[in-house]
């Protein structure tokens, strides 16, 4: 449909643009104006996770198992939430010890083990090859769709090697990887051009996929609801339950989530962009949420596109091609081209980063160690050039391997199935790395056994069957096991069936991998180097760069410089050694003994170029004398970590001190306040005692000095003296009561108390006060059970206080007081005392229960309250888990209501829950 030359031209232009961007970014970086020191570029480069699998394959998967395609992105989202804890530690370790790859990380952690590094590199290459093949296949088939649509048959026809676009793509990518991936021999130096190009590709694929999604949803259909409504009536969609079921089952769902959570860290390309290319640990903060957001955006339209494709095309169209085919079917060639470029960018980004990461890994952890061991390197060889060339060769080999695998399995598999095989392979790195970071006890023997066994199980349960299904191996061994041994069937190992192949393989590989790692670590003896490395890795946040000084050795500065020079060039080597001496303030002559710090520094620099295991071998070859013993190193390490720990504790202490000071200050404030309140209380009591005393004394003296006073007046004055004396007595009693209750020294009884009876008895006891005046006292209510838990004497005091209060303030001439006991809301009993006095203004209703608060507008001539009666009522009510308040309108009388919980509720100790000390 589109002419072939135009597709080729656009592809070529795009690749040209990519080269340009990478070149430009490298130049900027060289001039110190780095583009990669930016959390957004970092995040976009992590989006290299979204490959052709995402771009084409997710749609394919969605047509079979509905929303299950999302697990591949939910897993990374969950892991991203933990990045600040896990990834940051990996980054810190890798930077500190110049670790350049997953293989190097594992090798270094387990005592700089060459065997482990080599094994990990092999697993990575074999594991990722299918994944690279997947990308090539996707590019090739998207090209064909673009070219031949709508001739489905032509699309699916295999072509000869020279006619296959995948080959040319592979060659172009190899060129890119070589140009921008092998600029430096030191693999810890950042590949800025590559990172920026990949970040750019992430933008392109997102824009392209969103365009496709918006086109399908809003152009072909009238938005989401229209699309979903029409899909819901489609037969295949209905029968598969794509809209509302999890066709693969929840087990597979969980497996895929975990697998992809591991993949986001342990895929070599992810490791490359998240760990090796990390400029600043703080960028992880942004990436932890922004990257999942990117995933969310790119997945929004996957299901709509899948559904639209199913309604538009028959079974002869591969669902992986829907994204491209939908706009083409509507005649939108330009949009098709944009989408093709998006898929192309998704595929190329992955291939570029993966090949570079693998090439560095294989060169540092497999090839160089072998060369060094074979002593194949004569001193005259320029090692730095050699290593760079090895990496270039490796890039070509890895791409070739991917291409061969692609030829082998071409079109036999859906994209996603191929990708998942790789996911299970890299998941093998999870146990040794995660255990190695958080558990010092993980040993080399355990890691080696676990990793080997996991890898073998992976080969047997996934890779071999995938090859068998292409027809290279006999199909029979899948169905019946090798030689007809049923329990060795690769998809039903040991007779366990019922899982899909991926879940099955994941289960077995993880079981043997983690199981052996744990089991053997428990029982193996660890060497000094292993223990040192374990301590360095697990406690990385306690260490500084200067820590790891293993060398007691006697190497001369000249030797070290020469060694370094062989790998990274003489000029560079002398610069590094000079700079190191500079920062330490040392002046180094060639013949002088190098300090242990310098030896260690050289080893670290070498590790960046040739891997940690090889670096160690090289350095030990020129250092005469032993490396420090384990004890020696641990002593140094402990000393530093103790210092760090100490300063940390100091910091902690000073924080605690600060807090204690704060608390003290607050307590002091509180004390001052209490003191003030106490002062106030004493002053109030004094005032209240002095007032009646004043009248008593004054009239006493008047009577004494005026013996001839007339009888009526004498009578009046004596009456005052008596009444004021009573008032004084009452006041003293109440102050004593109050202080007893407040101090908790009042002896409380806890009994079942019938409030009805209390009410009646209180009325009897106060009858005299009422009969003196003209106040009528009535008692109401009294039906039903009114039992509460409490102290009968105190409750009686409460009722009497309320009644006498009412007696004082009810209408002087036509006073009416009414006591009523009835049910309150919930499980409570209420005692209410109503008077027809002047009522209480709103501002006084709260404060009336405070000590010595007296309502301001009292009628003159009436005896006043002591100001304590209601305060005591409140204390008693609260001590009985109850509340007391007053309802009143000025001029309408007032009702004092005490509400207490009914007996049988969950009460506890009487005094314990009322904090009297704070009540003032």
């Amino acid at each position: 449909m589109l002419p072939e030359w135009s597709i080729l031209l656009v592809s070529a232009l795009y690749v040209g643009l990519l080269f340009g961007i990478a070149y430009f970014a490298d130049k900027l970086g060289d001039r110190g104006r780095s583009l990669v020191n930016n959390p957004y570029v970092y995040t976009l480069s992590i989006a290299v996770y979204c490959t052709a699998w995402t771009f084409y394959g997710s749609v394919g998967l969605a047509t079979q198992s509905g929303m299950a395609f999302l697990t591949i992105y939910l897993g990374p989202t969950l892991m991203a939430a933990l990045w600040w804890l896990v990834l940051r530690k990996i980054v810190r370790i890798s930077k500190l010890y110049r670790i350049t790859s997953i293989a190097d990380f594992i090798a270094s952690r387990y005592g700089k083990s060459m065997a482990l590094g080599g094994l990990a590199a092999v697993i990575a290459v074999i594991g990722i090859t299918p994944y690279i093949a997947l990308q090539l296949q996707a590019v090739s088939s998207s090209f064909d769709v673009l070219l031949y649509f709508p001739d489905v048959e032509a699309m699916e026809t295999p072509r000869g090697v020279w006619d296959d676009k995948a080959l040319y793509v592979a060659v172009l990518l190899a060129a890119f990887a070589i140009l921008f991936g092998t600029r430096h021999i030191d693999a810890t130096e950042r590949l800025e051009g590559m990172v920026v190009a990949v970040a750019f590709e992430s933008v392109v694929k997102l824009v392209a996929f969103l365009s496709a999604g918006i086109f399908v949803t809003f152009w072909l259909f009238n938005g989401f609801s229209d699309l979903f409504a029409r899909a819901a009536s489609h037969e295949a969609i209905q029968s598969l339950g794509l809209l509302h079921e999890i066709p693969g089952g929840y087990g597979a769902w969980l497996t895929l989530t975990i697998l992809s959570a591991f993949a986001i860290i342990f895929l070599p390309r992810q490791w490359q962009v998240t760990v090796v290319e990390n400029v600043n640990e703080d960028h992880i903060r942004t990436a932890s949420w922004l990257f999942p957001l990117y995933l969310l955006a790119i997945n929004l339209f996957v299901l709509p596109i899948a559904l639209a494709g199913m309604t538009a095309f028959g079974p002869e169209m591969s669902p992986d091609n829907y994204v491209l085919a939908l706009p083409l079917a509507e005649g939108h060639g330009a949009l098709g081209l944009l989408i093709y470029i998006g898929g192309f960018s998704a595929a190329t980004g992955m291939v570029i980063v993966a090949t570079i990461a693998l090439a560095i890994m294989v060169s540092n952890d497999l090839v160089v160690p072998i060369l060094l061991r074979k002593q194949a390197l004569s001193p005259s060889v320029d090692l730095s050039r050699l290593i760079v060339n090895i990496r270039r060769l490796l890039i070509c080999c890895i791409l070739l391997l991917g291409y061969l695998y692609y030829l082998l399995i071409a079109d036999a598999y859906a994209l996603v199935s191929i990708g998942l095989i790789s996911f299970v392979a890299v998941a093998q790195f999870a146990p040794p790395i995660l255990a190695g970071m958080f558990w010092k006890g993980a040993s080399r023997a355990g890691a080696l056994a676990g990793l080997s066994a996991g890898f073998l199980f992976w080969l047997y349960t996934l890779l071999l069957p995938s090859l068998a299904e292409t027809g290279i191996l006999g199909q029979g061994f899948i169905a019946h096991g090798p030689g007809g041994i049923e329990w060795l069937r690769p998809y039903g190992l040991f007779g366990i069936t019922g899982m899909d192949p991926i879940t099955h393989a994941f289960f077995w590989t993880m079981l043997v991998n983690a199981g052996l790692l744990w089991g053997i670590s428990m029982f193996s003896r660890r060497g000094d180097m292993e223990r040192i490395q374990a301590a360095l890795f697990v406690d990385v946040f306690l260490r500084s760069e200067r820590d790891a000084r293993f060398w007691q050795g006697t190497a001369t500065v000249g030797d070290l410089q020469e060694l370094l020079g062989r790998f990274i060039g003489n000029e560079q080597a002398s610069r590094i050694i000079y700079e190191h001496a500079e920062t330490r303030g040392d002046r180094l002559a060639d013949t002088e003994q190098a300090r242990p710090e310098l030896v260690h520094h050289v080893e670290r620099v070498l590790a960046g170029s040739i891997g940690s295991a090889s670096a160690r071998v090289m350095v030990s070859s020129i250092v005469k004398g032993e490396a420090l013993s384990f004890e020696g190193v641990m002593e140094i390490l402990d000393a530093t970590s103790r210092t760090i720990e100490y300063s940390r504790r100091l910091e902690q202490k000073s924080k605690e001190l600060e807090q204690a000071t704060q608390e003290l200050r607050a307590a002091n404030e509180r004390l001052k306040e209490l003191d003030h309140l106490k002062d106030e209380f004493v002053s109030m009591v004094s005032h209240e005692l002095r007032t009646p005393l004043t009248s008593i004394r004054a009239f006493g003296e008047i009577l004494l000095n005026n013996p001839e006073m007339d009888t009526a007046q004498r009578q009046q004055f004596l009456d005052v003296v008596v009444r004021e004396s009573e008032r004084l007595t009452r006041l003293i009693n109440q102050v004593l009561d109050l202080s007893k209750i407040e101090s908790g020294s009042a002896e409380w009884q806890l009994a079942d108390v019938d409030m009805d009876r209390i009410g009646r008895e209180a009325v009897e006891a106060t009858r005299q006060i009422f009969s003196e005046g003209k106040t009528e006292l009535r008692i109401e209510g009294g039906a039903g059970d009114a039992t509460v838990k409490g102290d009968p004497d105190r409750l009686m005091q409460l009722a009497i206080n309320l009644l006498s209060n009412a007696a004082k303030f009810s209408d002087p001439d036509h006073g009416r007081v009414r006591l009523r006991v009835d049910d309150g809301p919930g499980d409570t009993v209420q005692l209410a005392v109503t008077d027809n006095g002047p009522g209480i203004g709103e501002s006084d209703r709260q404060r009336i229960f405070e000590k010595f608060h007296q309502v301001s507008d009292l009628q003159a001539g009436k005896p006043k309250g002591s100001g304590l009666g209601l305060a005591i009522c409140r204390l008693i009510a609260e001590a009985h888990w109850g509340t007391i308040w007053v309802e009143s309108e000025p001029g309408e009388g007032s009702t004092f209501i005490c509400r207490l919980p009914r007996a049988g509720g969950e009460h506890c100790d009487l005094t314990a829950h009322v904090d009297f000390s704070g009540w003032r």
């Binding site: 002053s683 005032h687 009248s695 004394r697 004054a698 008047i702 005052v720 001539g861």
Partner: protein, 127 residues
Amino acid sequence: MSQEILIVDDEANIVLSLEFLMKQAGFQVRTAEDGEQALEAMEDHPPDLVLLDVMMPRKNGYEVCEEIRRRPEWAGLPVVMLTAKGRDVEREKGLALGADDYITKPFSTQEVVDKVKEILRDRQGGG
């Protein structure tokens, strides 16, 4: 014409006793039971001396004393404060506000009468 004393206190019994004492000492007496009433009573014509309680509803003794000292027409009007708050701080506060003397409750009847007489005599003697 005998001199007039204004007695201000919210405790009726204390007013009663002071009233008796002052009358017995030959003064005319007016009474008020809170600060506002006291000020109203003085608007009409000022008394010769005010016996002023501190703790009262609606305008306490301090406020009344301040008000008296602010008004020029009442300058020189003697104020004797009566209070049941016995602390030195309060005494000083009263004196600082311009009270002429400060009597703590419960008081000796003799002392009150003597003090009132003494202040009024000084006033007359002084001008």
